[in-house]
C-alpha cells in the first residue's frame, strides 16, 4: 500500500521511499523517513491533498508526491 492510498483514520509505518531529490528533501524536512509512524487525518474537499500526522505535526501532501511511498498499515 502507498501513503496516498491511506484512508482517514488509517495508521501506518513507512516501509520504503522512492522519490526524486526535491521531494525527498522536503520529506526529510518534515521528518518522514523509512520507519516513521504516520496517520492519515484529513482529506481536502476534492480528496487531494490529504493531511497526515507526522511526528506531531499535521502535514498536507499531494497524491503525486506520495504515490511511491510504501507503507504498512498497523
Amino acid at each position: 500500500m502507498y501513503l496516498c492510498d491511506m484512508k482517514v483514520g488509517n495508521k501506518a509505518i513507512v516501509k520504503k521511499i522512492v522519490a526524486n531529490d526535491n521531494i525527498k528533501r522536503r520529506l526529510l524536512d518534515i521528518g518522514l523517513i523509512e520507519g516513521t509512524n504516520v496517520e492519515c487525518v484529513l482529506k481536502s474537499p476534492f480528496n487531494d491533498p490529504k493531511a497526515y500526522l507526522i511526528r506531531g505535526a499535521i502535514i498536507a501532501i499531494r497524491k503525486e508526491d506520495c504515490d511511491k511511498i510504501e507503507v504498512d498499515i498497523i
Partner: protein
C-alpha cells in the same frame, strides 16, 4: 557588542521571542517580507549590549527556498557569538532536527523551547533539564506571548556552558569522516572540519559552492580529498539526515511525555469541518462575505463623518490661507487640488481599512489561512500551480505588493512567477473603496441593503479568482510550461488570537502603512491633476485634451477618456482613481461638491454614466496594470523587466477585452 542569531522552524513564535527581547514592533508569522529581510534589533541586559538577528523560519539547514538559504548562510558563514534556536514545545521532535543540525556547525547554541503554555494546555510535559543534559547546551522554556521565561533566557545569554554531544552517524559515515578529517584539518579556516566532511559526503551543490566561496578554495579540486571521496562513495549511499531524524526521535522519546495521547483531537474535530466536502469551500466564501459585509456596513458612517469634518475644515483652511494673503492660484492648487484628493483618500480608505485589516489579521492569527490553501490546492494543481498561491492571494487582499513578495513561500521558481503574475486579480484594499462605492451607487442604491453590495462584491472577487485560475493555467501551458512541483504544507494548530494585540498590530503595521503610502502619492497627484485641469491650450485644459484624445478608445470599451486617464494617473495608487475622475469631470464644467454619495452619483450620471459604464469600470478596476509599488516589487522579486511588463500587459489586456465584450453585448441588448 555581542551578536546573536535567532533561528527556528516557521510558526514557532520566533518573532514573538524577538519582540520580547528587543521591544521592537514586528509582525509575527512566517509571511516573507516580515522576517525574510533578516530583521535585527538591539537590546541591553546587565550592562551588556546585544545585537540580535531574526532569521527566516526554516525546517532544516539543507535549504531549498531563498528564505531558508538566508538562514542557512547566516548560521554557516556569519560571525556571531550565539545562536538561539527557538523550538515549538508542542512539536519538539521535529524541531530538534534543526537544533542538531545547528550543533553540527557551532557549539554556541541556546535552545529556547517556546509555546510552553500551549504544550501545558495539551498536557504535554517536557523535561527541560534532561534535554539540556542530553544536548550539552543550555535549554530554556518560554511562553513568549506572555513574556514567561524571557528573563531566564536573558540570564542564560552569558552562560558559556557549552559541551554539546557529538552526533554519531552510522558506522560507515563515521568511518568516512575519519578518513577525510586529517586532510581537511588545516584547510577549513574557522569552519568546523567535521561539518565540512559531512557536507562533502552528503554533497549538496548550492551549499558546496558557498563553502568553496567562503574558503576561497575548491576542496573537490584537491586530488587527495577527491580520491578519498571516490573511495568512500564506492562503499554506497550515505544518508546523513536520516541519522539526525532518528536521533531527534530518540531524544524526544526521553524528554517528552504525553498525559493525553489524543491532544490533537480537538483541532482535528474543527478541521474535519473546515476541510469537509460540504463546508470546506462554502466556509471560505462565507468568511470572505462576512468580512466584506462588516467592512462595508461599518465603514459607511465613519466615512460620512470624515467627509463632513474635512469640508468643515476646508472653509477654515481657506480663510486662513486668504488671511495669509496667498496668491489665488496657489490657494486653488492647494485646496481644489491637493486638499480635495488627500481628504478623499483618507475619508474613503481609512474606515474600511481599519475594519478589514484587523478582521483579516484575526483569521491569520487563528491559523485558518493554511486551511484555505489545503482546501483549494487541487484547483491550483490542475492549473499546474502551487497551493500556497492561495496564501499569496489572501495577502493580496491587503496589498498586492505584499502578495507579490509573499510569493517567496513558493519554492518552485515557475510556480512563484505564476503567483506573482496573477496576484493583481485579487482586488487589494486600495481598490475595494472604488468597487464598493460604485456598487453602492449603481447597483443597490444609496439606501439599499449592504447585504446585496456584499453579494455583488463577492461575485466580482470570484471572477478575479476565476481569472487567476485561467491565467495560471494558460501560463503553465505556454510561456511557463511545467508540471506541478512537490508540495508539503503544514496545518499548524489553531491558536486563540490575541484580539487586543491584533487590532493594534494591524492598525499600526498595515492600515497606517498603506494609508501613508496612499497619502504620499495623493499629494503630488492632486497637484498634478489640478494643474492639468487648469492649464489651458487654445482655451481647452490639458486634461481635456488628453481625455478627449483617449475618449474614442474609452468609448469602445464601455468607458470614456476621463475614466481611462484616471486609471493611468492612478498608477501610483489605485485609491485615487475616483477622486481623479471626479476632479476631471468637475474641471470640465459640472462643478459639484462631492460631500456625499448622492452628489457623486449625480456627477457621474450627468457625465453620461450608465449601469454598463459602472460594470466596465468595476471590471477594469479588477483587471488592469498593478500600481507602481506593486510593479516595483515585481521587478525586484523577478529581477526581470520582461516579467514586470507581462505582469502589466496580461491583466490590462484581459480588462480591455472583457470591457469591450461587455459594452458591445449591452449595446446589442
Amino acid at each position: 557588542m555581542k551578536i546573536i542569531a535567532l533561528a527556528g522552524n516557521p510558526n514557532v513564535g520566533k518573532s514573538t521571542v524577538f519582540n520580547s527581547l528587543t521591544g521592537l514592533h514586528q509582525h509575527t508569522g512566517n509571511w516573507p517580507g516580515k522576517t525574510v529581510s533578516n530583521a535585527s534589533g538591539t537590546f541591553k541586559y546587565n550592562n551588556k549590549d546585544y545585537k540580535i538577528y531574526d532569521l527566516p523560519g526554516t525546517y532544516s539547514l539543507i535549504s531549498h527556498s531563498e528564505e531558508e538559504e538566508v538562514a542557512r548562510d547566516f548560521i554557516c558563514f556569519n560571525k556571531y557569538d550565539l545562536v538561539i534556536v527557538v523550538c515549538d514545545a508542542v512539536c519538539l521532535e521535529r524541531n530538534l532536527n534543526l537544533v542538531l543540525q545547528t550543533l553540527e556547525i557551532t557549539k554556541k547554541v541556546i535552545v529556547c523551547v517556546n509555546l510552553m503554555d500551549e504544550a501545558k494546555k495539551k498536557k504535554i510535559n517536557i523535561d527541560l533539564t534532561k534535554l539540556s543534559n542530553i544536548l550539552g547546551v543550555p535549554v530554556v522554556g518560554t511562553s513568549a506571548r506572555n513574556k514567561n521565561g524571557i528573563n531566564e533566557l536573558l540570564n542564560n545569554l552569558e552562560n558559556t556552558n557549552f559541551n554539546p554531544f557529538e552526533i554519531k552517524y552510522y558506522d560507515k559515515v563515521e568511518e568516512a569522516i575519519d578518513i577525510l578529517l586529517p586532510y581537511l584539518k588545516d584547510k577549513t579556516k574557522d569552519l568546523n572540519p567535521r561539518w565540512v566532511a559531512i557536507n562533502l559526503i552528503n554533497y549538496e551543490e548550492s551549499l558546496y559552492k558557498k563553502i568553496t566561496n567562503y574558503l576561497n578554495y575548491d576542496l573537490l579540486k584537491d586530488k587527495i580529498i577527491k580520491n578519498q571521496l571516490i573511495y568512500i562513495k564506492e562503499e554506497g549511499n550515505y544518508n546523513v539526515v536520516d541519522s539526525l531524524i532518528k536521533k531527534s526521535e530518540e531524544i524526544a522519546k526521553k524528554v517528552v511525555t504525553y498525559e493525553n495521547k489524543n491532544y490533537k483531537q480537538k483541532d482535528l474535530k474543527i478541521d474535519k469541518i473546515t476541510t469537509s466536502k460540504l463546508f470546506g469551500i462554502p466556509l471560505i466564501i462565507t468568511l470572505l462575505m462576512v468580512i466584506f459585509w462588516l467592512t462595508i456596513k461599518g465603514a459607511n458612517y465613519p466615512s460620512e463623518l470624515l467627509f463632513q469634518f474635512f469640508s468643515y475644515l476646508e472653509i477654515h483652511i481657506l480663510n486662513f490661507l486668504e488671511f495669509l494673503k496667498f496668491p489665488q492660484f496657489l490657494i486653488n492648487l492647494l485646496i481644489s487640488g491637493v486638499y480635495k484628493v488627500l481628504t478623499w483618500v483618507v475619508a474613503v480608505m481609512l474606515p474600511p481599512m481599519a475594519i478589514f485589516f484587523p478582521l483579516f489579521t484575526l483569521l491569520e492569527d487563528l491559523g485558518y489561512l493554511p486551511r484555505i490553501a489545503f482546501n483549494l490546492d487541487k484547483m491550483f494543481k490542475k492549473c499546474c500551480a502551487c497551493g500556497k498561491q492561495a496564501l499569496t492571494m489572501c495577502m493580496g487582499f491587503g496589498c498586492n505588493a505584499v502578495g507579490v513578495s509573499g510569493a517567496r513561500i513558493i519554492d518552485s521558481p515557475r510556480e512563484r512567477l505564476i503567483a506573482i503574475l496573477t496576484n493583481v486579480f485579487v482586488p487589494c484594499n486600495g481598490r475595494f473603496p472604488t468597487m464598493i462605492t460604485l456598487i453602492t451607487i449603481f447597483f443597490v442604491g444609496i439606501n439599499g441593503s449592504s447585504f446585496l453590495s456584499v453579494i455583488i462584491l463577492t461575485l466580482v472577487i470570484l471572477l478575479g479568482f476565476l481569472l487567476t485560475f485561467l491565467v495560471s493555467y494558460i501560463l503553465s501551458k505556454t510561456i511557463l510550461k511545467g508540471v506541478p512541483s512537490s508540495f508539503t504544507l503544514e496545518l499548524p494548530p489553531y491558536r486563540k488570537p490575541q484580539v487586543g494585540k491584533v487590532i493594534i498590530r494591524s492598525i499600526f503595521d498595515r492600515t497606517l502603512f498603506v494609508l501613508s503610502r496612499a497619502v504620499i502619492v495623493a499629494v503630488p497627484a492632486g497637484a498634478l491633476i489640478w494643474l492639468l485641469a487648469n492649464l489651458h491650450i487654445n482655451d481647452i485644459s490639458l486634461l481635456n485634451h488628453i481625455s478627449s484624445f483617449l475618449d474614442p478608445f474609452g468609448k469602445l470599451i464601455g468607458m470614456d477618456g476621463v475614466i481611462l486617464i484616471s486609471f493611468i494617473l492612478g498608477f501610483p495608487a489605485n485609491e485615487i482613481v475616483i477622486p481623479i475622475m471626479l476632479m476631471t469631470y468637475m474641471a470640465t464644467g459640472n462643478l459639484v461638491e462631492y460631500e456625499s454619495l448622492e452628489s457623486l452619483r449625480s456627477i457621474l450620471v450627468n457625465n453620461g454614466w450608465t449601469v454598463t459604464t459602472a460594470i466596465c469600470v468595476l471590471i477594469f478596476s479588477l483587471c488592469h496594470f498593478p500600481c507602481s509599488t506593486t510593479c516595483l516589487t515585481i521587478k525586484k522579486e523577478t529581477g526581470s523587466l520582461k516579467w514586470t511588463l507581462l505582469a502589466i500587459i496580461i491583466p490590462t489586456l484581459i480588462g480591455i477585452i472583457l470591457c469591450f465584450l461587455i459594452s458591445n453585448i449591452s449595446n446589442f441588448i
